[in-house]
């Protein structure tokens, strides 16, 4: 399996009237072919902004100030808006959190799928497009696709709408699908359906998926690898089993400890105290230093480098430094 997408040193700044928010700081990760990478982190940790940076859909006041996004050997950050338009949808597609707002309420859903095909597959005839739209609707598990084809978004339930959104995203057989909290707005029973669908589709279409979520259950369900973000930095990446069994970064440990376990009832949850850092004025050292239980002097002053803590498992934490172990012992 080769790397299909590789992000290196990505840094994104967002200008507001109060100052510049350093939303994403020096982030590195990659996505293998046909795998699912889950990006987890708190709201404001920069996970959504990173994806928007990759897609070239940052808000007007946001800018990639440094770094590269290599896709198929080409750097997407160097692409013009026009060139990005040919990539978006056909090569890399995106699914957003809220299915209510990501569909056009005044257009039949079949037409919305066809719009996507029209933009990227110019050689298709109208009949072919319609056939493809119906095929996509049945692919995402919508019964009676011929009838649904003619319906408007408000005639569908939330779960159905998210299926349509996924159908649109998959219309042009993208190589990479970026899903930004695709199940957060849905109920648990519907969430389970959508997760199943995404796993199924991945087997059928061989798409690589990046899924942003804050639900660790969803991560466990769907991810092959995990990237953990905190305070605009990527603090840990690794195989999903590794991350859950042997977390290296204190934030990841805290996160896993803070969810209630089925078998240990009655005990207090292990909460992480405090609040995430203000990225207008990010801390000099490790972003988690202010909330960490093991903070050392060095953590407050210097950002740690990535160290290996398993095969294909990296974490940026000073505790992994040999000197720290010496100090502790």
């Amino acid at each position: 399996m080769g790397k299909i997408l590789e992000v290196s040193n990505l840094t994104i700044h967002i200008k507001t009237h109060k100052g510049t928010v350093q939303a994403v700081r020096d982030v590195n990760f990659y996505l293998n072919e046909q795998e699912t990478l889950a990006v987890v982190g708190e709201s404001g940790s920069g996970k959504s902004i990173t994806m928007k940076g990759i897609m070239g859909i940052l808000p007007k006041n946001g800018k990639v100030t440094e770094g590269t996004v290599m896709y198929n050997g080409k750097d997407l950050t160097k692409y013009t808006e026009r060139e990005m338009q040919t990539i978006r949808g056909s090569e890399i597609a995106m699914v957003f959190q809220d299915p209510m707002t990501s569909l056009n309420p005044t257009m039949r859903i079949g037409k919305q799928i066809e719009e996507m095909l029209k933009a990227h597959k110019m050689d298709m005839t109208a009949e072919q497009r319609k056939a493809r739209a119906i095929e996509l609707l049945s692919l995402v598990g919508i019964s009676n696709p011929e009838q649904r084809y003619k319906q408007y978004p408000h005639q569908l339930s939330g779960g159905m709408r998210q299926r349509v959104v996924i159908a649109i995203a998959l219309a042009c057989d993208p190589k990479v699908l970026i899903a930004d909290e695709p199940t957060t707005a849905l109920d648990v029973t519907i969430q389970a359906q959508i997760l199943d669908l995404m796993r199924d589709l991945q087997k059928k279409t061989k798409t690589s998926i990046i899924i942003i979520t804050h639900n660790l259950g969803v991560v466990a369900n769907i991810a092959d690898r995990v990237a953990v973000m905190y305070g605009g930095k990527l603090v840990e990446t690794g195989d999903v089993y590794e991350i859950f069994k042997n977390p290296c970064h204190e934030y990841t440990k805290g996160l896993l400890a803070s969810i209630p376990k089925a078998h240990e009832k009655g005990n207090r949850l292990r909460a992480i105290p405090g609040t995430p850092p203000d990225l207008m004025d990010p801390p000099k050292g490790c972003p988690f230093a202010a909330r960490c239980n093991e903070t050392m002097v060095v953590c407050q002053q210097f950002m740690p480098e990535y160290s290996d803590c398993g095969s294909d498992h990296k974490s940026a934490c000073w505790l992994l430094d040999p000197r720290a172990k010496g100090g502790k012992a």
């Binding site: 202010a290 909330r291 002097v297 002053q301 210097f302 480098e305």
Partner: protein, 307 residues
């Protein structure tokens, strides 16, 4: 990274004060300071604000410090073009246009301001009562508004001016008679929206009385849209007044208002254009600046952007 700066001695546990974890780094900021910071970024709005301040100051001060009274006639200077003594020149009776233009601005602004305040008081009360009482009262009050909206306001204003003697008071009354409707609708819509917000529910649950909820929860949160609506009412009132005076049913000579002055200048436009141009520039500046400032304030006060 400066590896040499990292010393082994730094690998010891640091003491983090417990309160440090909840510390908010940003300086405290209220709604006004926030809005002002945003407004300051908007160059056009700031320039408009300064132009308006300058115009208002001139309207107050210029007639006081002028050598001439606005009604003082001097037949040796009829239609004099701008000179050192008469900065804007003179009109058909040799009256100083500088004084008359600022006097006219003063009266126009005053009419607009009083009309806007009346709109504000009537509109906010009407809208708030309608939204808070709800049910049948709300339905009846809304029907009344719909009837008022149905009749073109210009017709009401003209009929009103025909029926009553012309004067500043009559014009203000004519402007206010229909002007409050928009304010009432806006305030009603905003309060209906706020009524279902969780913080208003929280006040109910806490046992706060209705007066408290109106004064502390509802009105402070509608101030933004009220201010913006006023910013758009003022120029439209100035415009209506100028229009009425221009067609000759507003203020009459020797009273000066921007409409009266423009009417006078329009009649001699071909031979003495300065008589029209000076008041026209002032009215255009007022209208444009109020609109730009209103837009800027809307963006600055928009609570959506505060998240």
């Amino acid at each position: 990274m400066n590896n040499e700066m990292i010393k082994d001695s730094m690998f010891v546990k640091a003491e983090v004060a417990a309160d440090e974890k909840e510390h908010i780094a940003a300086p405290a900021s209220g709604m006004i300071t926030d809005a002002w910071a945003r407004l300051r970024k908007n160059k056009a709005a700031v320039v408009s604000l300064f132009i308006l301040i300058a115009i208002i100051l001139l309207a107050i001060l210029a007639p006081i410090f002028s050598k001439y009274d606005f009604a003082f006639t001097d037949y040796s200077n009829v239609y004099s073009t701008p000179t050192k003594g008469h900065i804007f020149g003179c009109d058909q009776f040799g009256r100083d246009l500088w004084t008359r233009v600022w006097m006219g601005t003063r009266i126009s602004l005053m009419i607009a301001l009083v009309a806007a305040v009346l709109d504000l008081v009537v509109g906010v009360l009407y809208g708030a009562v309608s939204a808070l009482l709800g049910g049948r009262v709300d339905a009846i009050m809304q029907r009344i508004i719909e009837i008022l909206v149905g009749i073109p306001s210009l017709i009401i204003v003209i009929l009103f001016l025909m029926a009553f003697p012309a004067g500043v008071g009559t014009i203000i009354a004519a402007l206010s008679i229909t002007g409050w409707v928009n304010m009432a609708r806006l305030v009603r819509a905003e309060i209906l929206k706020l009524k279902n917000q969780e913080f208003v529910m929280a006040s109910h649950v806490l046992g706060s009385n209705n007066l408290y909820i109106i004064m502390k929860d509802l009105i402070p949160n509608t101030v933004g849209i009220i201010v913006i609506q006023v910013m758009f009412t003022i120029p439209s009132a100035i415009f209506t007044e100028a229009f009425l005076s221009f067609i000759g049913i507003g203020l009459a000579e020797p009273q000066a208002s921007l409409g009266v002055l423009i009417n006078g200048g329009y009649q001699v436009l071909q031979n003495y254009p300065h008589v029209l141009i000076c008041p026209a520039i002032v009215i255009v500046l007022i209208m444009v600046c109020f609109s730009i400032l209103g837009d800027g304030l809307r963006d600055a006060l928009d609570p959506q952007m505060r998240k």
